[in-house]
C-alpha cells in the first residue's frame, strides 16, 4: 500500500503544498490520469507529466524540480535521507536540552525561541562561557532581582543577535525540530530542506548577503514587473465602460433619415498612473540601502517615466541615475557616491515640503506615491502636515514600512501616517510579493 503510485503522488502533492504551490484535488487527479498516458518507467516523462499538471507558473517550476528530485529517489537514497534527518533531529534535541540547562536564571529556563537556543548551542565555547558566566553573576540570591528575568532574556537575545551578525549567516544553519512521532519523516525532511533553500523570500532584506544579491535582483525585477502591469490594469478596469454614445449615433445616422443604423460607442480613455517613488535613505534605513536601490532599479526598468526621489534630511531627485541603465552595482556605487543626503538624519517633513514646492507638476490626480520608509523622522507633526497636503494633490499614497508590524503600535509616527496612506509591512521579498498580490492598486 505504502508504495502505490497514488500514495506517492498524494505525498508529493503534500510536499508541494507545504512549499507554497497550491494544488487542488482536481489537479492531483489530472496528474494521475496523465501518468497513465506516459511511460511510467521513464523518469523524465513522469516528471514532465507531473510538472504539466501540477505547476502553474514559472516561479513554481524551480520548487517543483527540487521537490521532485528529492522525493522520487532510489529506495536506498531515501533510507539514507531518513537516517540523516533522524540523526540531525536527535543532535538538535540534544543541543536544545544543553542550551536549556545553560540558559537558565535561578533554575528557570529563559524564555527564548528554539532557534535562539540552537544558535547559542552552536556558538564557540568561549562565547558560551561568557554568556553562562554573565547569567551566573546575575543569579545572585537577591529578591531585588526577581523581576530581572525579562531584562536578562532581552540581553541574552541581543548578545545572540550580535554574534549572529558578527559570525555571518552561514553559522546559523537552522533545522526546525519536530515531534519524534512524526508520521512521515521523509516528507518532513524534504519540506525542511527545501524551505531552507527558498528562505530568501522570507529573509529580512537588511540581512541578505552580497552573494544573494543577483537572486534578489531577479525576484525584485519580476515583482516590479507584476506591480507595473497591475497598476495599469487596475486603472483600466475601473474606468472601463463601453457605452452607447447617443449624441454621436444620432449625428452619424442623420444621413439614413434619422433611423439609428450605425451605432457609435464611447469608452473612457485609459489613464495609466504616474508613479512617484519616495525612498528613505537616512541612517535608520541604511541597512535597507540595497533593498531600496534594488526596488527603484527594478521598478524603473519596467515602468516608463517613473520619478524617483530619495530623502533623509533633504530631498534628492535620482531618476537620472536609473534612467541611464547602468548595471545595478554601478548604479548603487554612483548613487551612494554622489548623494548628498545618504545616511543622514531624517526630516521627512522637509523632504515632502521640498517635493511639493519644487516638483508641483509631478503631483497630479494621476500620481501614485510609493513611500518606502520606517516612519522614523524628526518633527513627526510637520511630516504629518506635509503628508496631508500631499494626499490632497495625488491619487494615492502607498507606504511600504520596513518596520515589523508588531512594532507599529509603539510608534506615534506609524499611527499618524497610517491614517493618511495605505501602509503595508514590507521588509522581506515575501512581504513585497504579498502586497503586490493583494492588488492594492
Amino acid at each position: 500500500m505504502k508504495n502505490y503510485i497514488e500514495n506517492n503522488i498524494a505525498r508529493f502533492v503534500h510536499i508541494l503544498r507545504h512549499l507554497g504551490i497550491q494544488v487542488s484535488i482536481l489537479e492531483t487527479l489530472t496528474s494521475l490520469q496523465a501518468l497513465v498516458l506516459v511511460d511510467i518507467m521513464n523518469r523524465d516523462h513522469v516528471k514532465m507529466a507531473l510538472s504539466a499538471t501540477l505547476v502553474k507558473n514559472h516561479d513554481q517550476q524551480v520548487i517543483f524540480n527540487q521537490s521532485f528530485d528529492s522525493f522520487f529517489v532510489a529506495p536506498e537514497v531515501k533510507i539514507k535521507q531518513n537516517q540523516e534527518w533522524k540523526e540531525r533531529q536527535e543532535e538538535g534535541l540534544r543541543l536544545l536540552e544543553d542550551a536549556e540547562t545553560d540558559l537558565a536564571y535561578k533554575g528557570e529556563t529563559l524564555d527564548l525561541t528554539e532557534e535562539e537556543m540552537l544558535y547559542y548551542a552552536k556558538l564557540p565555547e568561549e562565547e558560551k562561557r561568557k554568556i553562562r558566566d554573565y547569567l551566573k553573576a546575575s543569579s545572585a540570591p537577591d529578591d531585588r532581582y526577581d523581576r530581572f528575568k525579562p531584562t536578562l532574556e532581552s540581553q541574552v537575545r541581543g548578545s545572540l543577535r550580535y554574534w549572529k551578525q558578527r559570525l555571518g549567516e552561514e553559522s546559523t544553519e537552522y533545522y526546525p525540530l519536530h515531534d519524534p512521532g512524526v508520521d512521515d519523516p521523509a516528507l518532513v525532511s524534504i519540506v525542511d530542506e527545501l524551505q531552507e533553500d527558498s528562505s530568501i523570500l522570507y529573509e529580512d532584506m537588511k540581512r541578505i548577503g552580497q552573494q544573494d544579491l543577483p537572486k534578489v535582483t531577479n525576484i525584485l525585477k519580476h515583482l516590479s514587473r507584476k506591480l507595473a502591469t497591475m497598476i495599469s490594469r487596475r486603472y483600466k478596469q475601473s474606468k472601463k465602460a463601453v457605452k452607447l454614445d447617443l449624441r454621436r449615433s444620432i449625428k452619424a445616422n442623420v444621413r439614413y433619415g434619422g433611423i439609428i443604423f450605425k451605432l457609435q460607442y464611447k469608452q473612457k480613455r485609459v489613464q495609466k498612473p504616474r508613479i512617484l517613488l519616495f525612498c528613505d535613505v537616512s541612517g535608520s534605513m541604511s541597512r535597507y540601502a540595497a533593498f531600496v536601490i534594488q526596488f527603484i532599479y527594478g521598478l524603473s526598468a519596467v515602468v516608463k517615466n517613473i520619478e524617483s526621489f530619495i530623502f533623509a534630511e533633504e530631498l534628492e531627485y535620482v531618476s537620472s541615475f536609473f534612467n541611464e541603465r547602468h548595471s545595478f552595482e554601478d548604479t548603487m556605487v554612483r548613487l551612494i557616491g554622489k548623494s548628498r543626503t545618504w545616511g543622514k538624519g531624517t526630516n521627512m517633513g522637509n523632504a515632502l515640503s521640498a517635493l511639493r514646492e519644487k516638483y508641483p507638476l509631478l503631483l497630479t490626480s494621476d500620481t501614485v506615491v510609493i513611500i518606502l520608509s520606517d516612519t522614523k523622522t524628526l518633527d513627526i507633526d510637520y511630516a504629518e502636515e506635509e503628508l496631508t497636503k500631499l494626499k490632497r494633490s495625488v491619487k494615492d499614497i502607498i507606504w511600504l514600512n520596513t518596520l515589523p508590524q508588531s512594532e507599529w503600535d509603539n510608534l506615534a509616527s506609524v499611527q499618524k501616517y497610517k491614517r493618511l496612506s495605505k501602509m503595508y509591512e514590507c521588509y522581506t521579498l515575501a512581504h513585497l510579493e504579498k502586497v503586490i498580490r493583494k492588488q492594492f492598486l
Partner: protein, 299 residues
C-alpha cells in the same frame, strides 16, 4: 502531410508531426502537448515573446490538418468580440423592409436566426463540424472579467445564447492559450489547463532551428549566429532577441552572402536583433561588434 488521428496519437508520432511541420521540439514540449491532447484539456503556454508559443497552435493545425481558429486578446476584449454578436445593422434594415408586411412574431423569429448572427472565434470553434485548433493568443492582455467568462466556456465547452438556448460543442477543440506573463492569471483558469513553459532554446537547439528554417546558411555561420544570439540573451537587455529574430538575422546574412559572422555584419544587422535604442546603446557600450566576434571565436 498525412493527417494524424487524435485518438491514436503517441508521443513519438506527435514528435514526428512537429518535426515534419518544421518545429524543433524536445520531450519537454512534446509531452505536455501530448497530455493536453489526450486529456482534452486546454494547454496554457507561457514564456518570453518569440519563443514559439503561438507556433505550436499552427503546428497542431498542420499535424491534424484541421482549421486554426484564432482569438487575439487585447485590453477591452469582451464577449461580443470573442463569442458572438447580432448584426444590428442588418436587423435594422430588415425591420425597415418588412415592418408593414410581416407579423411581429415572424419578424422577431427571423431577426434572431443564424443569418443575423456574427460568429466570433469561440462560437466558431464550438460549432465547427470537426475538431479544430482554437488559439487564444496573449490571454494575459485581457482583463479578469473576460478571463472568468473564458474559463466557464473552457470547462464545459458550451455557450448560452439567450434567443437560442444552450449550444454544446460538436467536438471539443484543441485549445492553446498563450501567455507572455504580463500579469498573473487567475487560479481558476490555470487549474483547468495543462501547463507548459517554453524557455529560449539552448545553443544546440537554436542551431537545429536555424538549419531547418534557413537551409542556405552554412554550418559555421549557423553556429556563429546561435552563439551570438545566445550571448545577447544573457545580457540585461529590455527585449531579448527571439527565435524569429534569429531567423531574420540568418536570412539577412544569406542575402549578404556571408560565410562567417563578421564585425561589419553585426553593425549592419544589429537592428534585427535588438529593437530598443537603449539596448543597442548598451550593446555598443558593453561589448560592441568587435567584442562579440571575439567572444564567438573564443567559444
Amino acid at each position: 502531410m498525412k493527417r494524424e488521428n487524435l485518438s491514436s496519437i503517441t508521443i513519438e508520432r506527435l514528435r514526428q508531426g512537429f518535426e515534419k511541420a518544421g518545429y524543433i521540439a524536445e520531450d519537454d514540449i512534446i509531452v505536455p502537448v501530448y497530455l493536453a491532447l489526450r486529456l482534452e484539456k486546454p494547454i496554457l503556454i507561457t514564456g518570453a515573446p518569440g519563443v514559439g508559443k503561438t507556433e505550436i497552435a499552427k503546428v497542431l493545425a498542420s499535424v491534424f490538418q484541421t482549421a486554426l481558429i484564432r482569438l487575439q486578446c487585447y485590453e477591452g476584449l469582451d464577449e461580443n468580440k470573442a463569442l458572438y454578436e447580432w448584426n444590428y445593422q442588418r436587423q435594422l434594415i430588415k425591420i425597415q423592409l418588412i415592418k408593414d408586411t410581416a407579423s411581429e412574431e415572424m419578424v422577431e423569429q427571423d431577426l434572431f436566426s443564424r443569418g443575423y448572427l456574427l460568429e466570433r472565434p469561440l462560437l466558431r470553434a464550438i460549432q465547427a463540424q470537426e475538431k479544430t485548433v482554437l488559439l487564444i493568443d496573449e490571454i494575459d492582455k485581457t482583463d479578469e472579467e473576460f478571463e472568468a467568462f473564458l474559463f466557464e466556456v473552457l470547462s464545459d465547452f458550451q455557450v448560452s445564447i439567450p434567443e437560442w438556448g444552450t449550444i454544446e460543442a460538436n467536438h471539443i477543440p484543441m485549445v492553446v492559450l498563450t501567455n507572455n506573463g504580463e500579469r498573473e492569471l487567475s487560479d481558476g483558469l490555470k487549474r483547468r489547463c495543462v501547463y507548459l513553459y517554453i524557455d529560449f532554446p539552448t545553443i544546440e537547439k537554436e542551431l537545429k532551428i536555424i538549419k531547418v528554417k534557413v537551409p542556405e546558411v552554412n554550418d559555421r555561420l549557423a553556429e556563429d549566429i546561435a552563439l551570438a544570439v545566445h550571448y545577447m540573451r544573457e545580457q540585461d537587455f529590455k527585449k531579448k532577441p527571439s527565435i524569429s529574430e534569429t531567423l531574420d538575422l540568418a536570412n539577412a546574412l544569406v542575402l549578404f552572402d556571408a560565410k562567417r559572422l563578421e564585425e561589419k555584419h553585426i553593425k549592419d544587422t544589429i537592428n534585427l536583433l535588438l529593437k530598443d535604442k537603449e539596448d543597442i546603446d548598451l550593446f555598443y557600450k558593453e561589448l560592441g561588434p568587435f567584442g562579440l566576434v571575439e567572444m564567438i571565436n573564443k567559444r
